[in-house]
């Protein structure tokens, strides 16, 4: 898919409201974590962010929703500097599914309904989000903290999906999933992209990226489509 379906151009992305991060620098504890990192996440398109472990993928994604601020560099969402968007609005527009899923107390339904005002755990929207995240069947009433790691990862995706974000950032979404569930989630992400959401996957799994992403990029913004050999993950 990477080669066959080129994503929309960057200028289209900015016009229609994707994420654009340019020249991000960030150091913590005397270590430079981001050195001129770039990222474009156009809408209606799946972008894979490919970089080795420890390269700063999670850090970059956390900068986009302002869980961190870079020391230098600019990030825009729909052309608007994230520094000028109130954080809670920014996080409504840009969903982030963290690398380590954390469940809130209660059921899967409670978890997915967590951020929705006036919507109960049995609501249709909640059920649809749970299903779209690859949990097909009677999951809403299961206790969230009793689920397996892979199941929790999908609940975390459902929790973000249900908020109808413009852009969805997923940090290693397939790390805890088996092949079959990964395919299910991948198909969901493709469908979301076709509905117009911008999807970004920070990911080690290059074959997965090849199947489901429209574009693959490195942390410096360069094309990773041809990088199968030297960027295949060690882990």
């Amino acid at each position: 898919m990477l080669a066959a379906v080129p994503g929309p151009s960057i200028s289209t992305a900015l016009a229609t409201g994707g994420v654009s991060a340019t020249d991000l620098w960030l150091s913590r504890g005397g270590r430079e974590i981001l050195r001129g990192a770039r990222l474009e996440v156009p809408r209606a398109c799946v972008t894979a962010l490919i970089a080795p472990s420890g390269a700063g993928k999670s850090t970059l994604l956390r900068c986009v929703t302002r869980l961190l601020d870079p020391d230098r560099g600019t990030i825009t969402v729909g052309g608007q500097d994230v520094q000028t968007i109130p954080p809670r609005e920014l996080r409504r527009r840009v969903g982030l599914v963290a690398q380590r899923a954390t469940m809130f107390p209660g059921t899967v339904g409670d978890n997915v309904a967590y951020a929705l005002e006036g919507v109960g755990p049995a609501h249709d929207r909640v059920r649809q989000a749970i299903e779209a995240a690859g949990l097909v069947g009677d999951w809403a009433s299961r206790a969230a903290d009793e689920l397996s790691g892979g199941e929790q990862a999908r609940v975390a995706i459902a929790r973000a999906l249900v908020r109808d974000p413009e852009v969805l950032l997923l940090d290693e979404p397939t790390a805890a999933l088996d092949h079959e569930t990964g395919e299910l989630v991948g198909a969901t992400l493709r469908r979301l992209a076709e509905d117009g959401i911008g999807i970004c996957l920070a990911i080690h799994d290059l074959p997965f990226a090849r199947r489901f992403a429209d574009r693959a990029v490195h942390l410096d913004g360069s094309d990773a489509t041809e990088a199968g050999r030297d960027e295949a993950p060690a882990a």
Binding site: R62, R66, L67, R92, L96, V97, T102, F104, A160, R163
Partner: protein
């Protein structure tokens, strides 16, 4: 000093010598520690006795004495919370505000007489309780803020403001901080006779008076410790919140 007074001191030292000697014989490595603690206690209590005697002569000095107690409590508790910038000052507020207000209230309504004899022990007990609650709540919250960053960021990512994102942690920390006070109140008279009661009885008060005063102190402690825990928790949350950014800078543990 009376004969009884000498007997008291002699008995106290006999017990200290017994414990110290036993520890030495059993090679517990505690012999000198016990002796030192006994000497320290002797000196500290003698000095406090003298100071309070002076205060009884000059009641306005009670204010300075209470201020010294509060300062010590704030330094002790604040030192345990040093991961948060300015912790000693905030500990002083969290301890002093509820403890001194409650003392003032009890004296103002006439529950206790407005004399150094009543004010100093009352303030001392309430400050001590508030100090324990401040330390316990604060440490528990700092640890939770540090350990549960993933959960906090998950809530923030779903649109929570910082206050809601840390609310479960605050609730747990305040609850933890209040547990000793609740247990002490629940078990009073069954597991132990608290200091106020024992002191009043030994000092010659009727059991009825001792029980009544003890009840006032215990129930005031509950309120004071809850307020102290809440104050330090809200302060810590504010200190680690980045204004305008809706995120926290988790405190370093140490």
């Amino acid at each position: 000093m009376s004969a009884q007074a000498w007997t008291q001191v002699a008995a106290a030292f006999a017990f200290a010598a017994l414990a110290s000697g036993l520890a030495w014989r059993l090679k517990l490595g505690l012999g000198s520690g016990i002796a030192l603690a006994a000497v320290r206690a002797t000196v500290q209590l003698a000095v406090v006795g003298l100071v309070i005697a002076v205060i009884y002569e000059h009641p306005p000095l009670a204010v300075a004495f209470v201020a010294a107690m509060l300062l010590t409590a704030a330094l002790t508790s604040g030192g345990r919370l040093h991961a948060v910038h300015g912790s000693r000052i905030w500990a002083a507020v969290a301890i002093g505000l509820p403890a001194l207000s409650a003392t003032g209230l009890l004296l103002a309504v006439g529950a206790f007489e407005a004399t150094p004899q009543a004010a100093i022990p009352t303030a001392g007990i309430l400050i001590g309780g508030a100090m324990a609650a401040t330390t316990l709540t604060g440490r528990r919250l700092i640890e939770a803020l540090h350990d549960e960053q993933d959960a906090i960021e998950a809530r923030l990512s779903l649109g929570d403001d910082v206050r809601s994102a840390v609310a479960p942690l605050v609730r747990r920390a305040v609850t933890t901080g209040l547990v000793p006070a609740i247990d002490q109140t629940r078990s009073v008279g069954l597991v132990s006779l608290p200091g106020t009661f024992v002191g009043l009885i030994l000092g010659g008060a009727t059991p009825e008076t001792a029980a009544r005063v003890q009840l006032v102190v215990l129930l005031a402690l509950l309120a004071v410790e809850l307020l102290a825990g809440l104050l330090i928790a809200l302060t810590i949350v504010r200190r680690v919140t980045e204004p305008g950014a809706e995120r926290i800078n988790p405190p370093a543990l140490g």
